[in-house]
């Protein structure tokens, strides 16, 4: 082996070892089993980020379909979990709209709304507006079609007004 080859090998090996050490201190696996789990997660994240960088990022259609199915069955926790897995980079407006909508539907109550869920829904809606403010849903089952409408609905749900004490309010329907 020539001296030049040893130099190149030295630089490459040192680089790989350094990256491995830096990753260990960043990921902080607690056991040897966790090392492989965290490595897999890191590789998946890096793959997704690379896809975003080179413009080939796509949501996971299967997970999205599963999420939509759960959403229509009013199983919002499972639905959100699937939507988050379908769009880990939070770049798909349609998926994000369903996530925000799931907070609205889960938090909606005939007598009172769940403020915590509405607040989370509002955060997701604001993120969606920043992502694509002109988004319009084509889902016929949804009464709210745009993020602005959803935001208005969530904000109204969080406010306490005289209208909240109207007994006829119990007759209103979830959108």
């Amino acid at each position: 082996m020539k001296e030049k080859h040893i130099h190149v090998l030295s630089i490459i090996l040192a680089l790989f070892y350094t990256v491995f050490i830096a990753w260990l201190y960043w990921a902080e696996p607690r056991t040897l089993e966790e090392v492989s789990t965290k490595a897999q997660t890191t590789i998946e994240n890096v793959t997704t980020k690379t896809q975003v960088a080179i413009g080939t990022y796509e949501i996971d259609r299967t997970k999205f379909a599963e999420g939509l199915d759960a959403f229509r069955k009013d199983n919002f926790i499972v639905a959100r979990d699937n939507f988050v897995k379908a769009d880990p980079e939070k770049r798909d407006a349609r998926t994000q709209f369903y996530i925000a909508y799931s907070y609205y539907r889960q938090g909606w109550g005939r007598i009172s709304n769940d403020d915590a869920l509405f607040k989370q829904g509002l955060e997701e809606t604001n993120r969606l507006i920043a992502l694509d403010k002109n988004f319009k849903s084509d889902d016929a089952n949804l009464q709210i079609k745009t993020p602005v409408e959803l935001k208005n609905e969530l904000e109204q749900g969080l406010q306490i007004t005289a209208d909240d004490f109207n007994p006829l309010k119990v007759l209103r329907e979830r959108k």
């Binding site: 130099h7 030295s10 350094t18 902080e28 607690r30």
Partner: protein, 269 residues
């Protein structure tokens, strides 16, 4: 080359007539033995030269492998293990990032290495070297820096009063050494002593003052009141016993690495 029989001697023999005439062709006979010896000597010298050249090449290759592959490996292993601790209860891995002060100490230590000629700058970096060689040398130096940082991370207590006391002792010693005239051997001995003492303080003295992990705070107070008091007052972290063993070998690897560091990494051709 010499002749067995010269023409002159033949004439003389003819003239005398008494001697028998030897008729034959005049032959040139080479002095075989002398040539053979001469050639043998020449070959022997050449072989000797070749052998010396070969052994020099092997030795050169070995030192290149040692300097460019083994040294970075040993230093990076120190960098990996220096921040590793084992949790007290479940012996989980805990990777502690080095505090800023460790980077400062490592920088001072590298300056000290240059001042004491443990590393000669002109022997590591030169315009006459190829870029690749300079980069490879810089890589080795960076691994040494990383290892030095992590050695301080390993030897400094993690928090509380002991951290500041030992950090100050390190700073005091390094600062004094910076202005002292050092030989390489003396520097290595001094560092060995310094790190050894810090190891004893942290992993024997303070570790023995730390109360073992107990199920509840009250149980700890009843079982080990003094140790609990020291742990509380000195803010001592609780680690598994294995941590001390890991850090012992980390320190040994680092000192071996330092011992192997050549003052001149590459000779100018």
């Amino acid at each position: 080359m010499s002749k067995v029989q010269s023409p002159k001697s033949k004439i003389e023999e003819d003239i005398s007539g008494e001697l028998s005439i030897i008729d034959g062709e005049l032959l040139e006979v080479s002095d075989g033995e002398e040539v053979a010896i001469e050639q043998k000597n020449k070959l022997s010298i050449e072989n000797k030269g070749q052998r010396t050249k070969d052994s020099a090449q092997i030795s050169n290759r070995q030192s290149t492998i040692l300097n460019y592959l083994f040294l970075p490996f040993i230093f990076l292993t120190v960098a990996l293990l220096g921040g590793l601790r084992l949790g007290a209860q479940t012996s989980d891995f805990l990777f502690l990032k080095p505090p800023l002060v460790c980077l400062i100490f490592a920088t001072v230590l590298l300056i000290l290495f240059f001042r004491a000629n443990l590393i000669r700058f002109e022997g590591w970096f030169s315009e006459n070297f190829s870029t690749l060689k300079n980069v490879a040398n810089a890589t080795v130096l960076l691994t040494l820096f990383a290892a030095s940082t992590q050695v301080f991370n390993a030897l400094l207590p993690e928090s509380g009063l002991p951290f500041w006391v030992i950090a100050f002792c390190f700073f005091w010693t390094l600062w004094n050494n910076l202005f002292a005239e050092f030989e390489t051997k003396k520097l290595l001995k001094s560092l060995g002593g310094l790190f050894g003492l810090a190891f004893v303080v942290k992993y024997l003295l303070l570790a023995n003052l730390t109360a073992p992990a107990s199920e509840s705070w009250w149980q700890g107070i009843f079982q080990n009141p003094t140790k609990e008091a020291f742990t509380y007052l000195l803010d001592l972290p609780r680690f598994a016993v294995g941590t001390g063993y890991i850090q012992f070998f980390t320190l040994i690897f680092y000192l071996i690495g330092l011992f192997l560091v050549p003052p001149v990494l590459s000779e100018e051709k």
